[in-house]
Amino acid sequence: MTEEKDYQKILASVQKPVEGEAGKTGSWSTIKPKINLDKCIVAKMEKNVCHFCWLYCPEPIITRTIPPRILYDYCKGCGICVEVCPHKAIEMVEESEL
């Protein structure tokens, strides 16, 4: 078989999945949510009892783990987790204070 020409290799525009397609979106904001583990009910009880921050986060960047973790590389800093936390365990801080 003869080798395919360039135009035979560029057909429809298709994508494959990658993390960080838009880059490190954590750089979009200098203020970030910080979980106070003394107040976080999941951390305190060491049980899957809340995880509202995980549920309501528009991004897949908070883990449903004990304790919850935030992937700061990609956190856009919207602050929704601060608002939805029933235990007021999250506050927005300057990146330098993380």
Binding site: Q15, P17, T25, F52, P58, P60, Y74, K76
Partner: protein, 306 residues
């Protein structure tokens, strides 16, 4: 009707990947993240020109994992779903793969309504999900058929929109499809439950999900959940399901047939810049809209028992 879902029922796997192009605090981003968890990997989604195109990323690389997606021009998403569904049937995969058309309010209530009506009338086996951020957000907040009365947009810059929002779920209900439901970004458990239910039903399923938009509506990113909840709690955006003709209000809208259980509409309107110039008369008009909406819902609920 949808089963009650608890937080720990929700799929742990993330099909939407981190580091995507969605705006900070985007309601759609949350809707899509939860919807994909409910739909799972045996799904083909088709997407028209919209904010969702942005989420799906540029050439070569996408922020969506394990789920195939076909982009299609603005007005064509329902016909695109029809094509996918027909092809899958020919491949003998009509029952094992879920076909989803996921479009914004412009692509649904305006430019895409013909294709959607046709696909619904043909009983196409697919879920049509409309995320409604109440204007053409991706092109810069222009008025759509789904923009509410009084809302300031870039094409209603001085007077605000003079007409009320098109009631798309009612239009779809008139197609006698087996499942119509509304939801809102602020109720992820509700979204999850309704996508799960839609997936179980054969035929055309229509989900209309209100999607607060920080830049378009004029509020701070952290308030997305709060504002979406206010839309429901004030009775502006009732959550319900209509399965095979039976109308059922979802929590928390199921309390709102009693007007005293609804929060004042001012609570919802006053926290968004797009409504910041509403006059007293316009506020009264808005109240009238909500009243009429619930008068209809009351009659609609009563129909079930007849």
């Amino acid at each position: 009707m949808a089963d009650k879902v608890k937080l720990y029922d929700i799929e742990d796997e993330e099909y939407m990947l981190a580091g995507n192009r969605m705006c900070s605090g985007c309601g759609l981003s949350l809707i899509y993240r939860i919807a994909l968890k409910a739909l799972g990997p045996d799904t083909i989604i088709t997407v028209p020109a919209s904010c969702l195109t942005v989420l799906h990323g540029m050439q070569g690389f996408t922020s969506v994992n394990k789920i195939s997606v076909l982009n299609t021009p603005f007005e064509t998403v329902a016909a695109s779903a029809s094509g996918i569904a027909s092809a899958l049937e020919m491949m003998g995969k009509g029952n094992e793969v879920t076909v989803v058309a996921f479009a914004g309010d412009g692509g649904t209530t305006d430019i895409g309504i013909q294709g959607l009506s046709g696909a619904a009338e043909r009983r196409t086996n697919f879920i049509y999900a409309c995320y409604d951020n109440e204007a053409y957000m991706n092109t810069g907040v222009q008025r759509s058929g789904s923009t509410p009365y009084g809302s300031h947009t870039t094409t209603t810059p001085i007077n605000g929109k003079r007409e009320h929002k098109k009631n798309m779920p009612r239009i779809l209900e008139a197609h006698d499809i087996p499942y119509v439901a509304t939801s809102c970004a602020s109720y992820p458990l509700d979204i999850y439950a309704k996508f799960k239910r839609a997936k179980e039903i054969k035929g055309t399923k229509y989900l209309h999900i209100l999607s607060p938009c920080p830049p378009g509506w004029g509020y701070s990113t952290q308030d997305t959940i709060k504002i979406g909840k206010l839309s429901v709690e004030t009775g502006f955006w009732p959550l319900y399901e209509i399965e095979r003709g039976k109308f059922v209000l979802s929590h928390p809208s199921n309390k709102h047939l009693d007007p005293s259980k609804r929060k004042p509409i001012e609570d919802y309107l006053s926290v968004q810049k797009r409504f910041s110039r509403l006059s007293n008369e316009e506020m009264e008009e808005f109240k009238e809209y909500v009243k009429n909406l619930w008068d209809y819902i009351k009659k609609r609920v009563e129909c079930n028992t007849q």
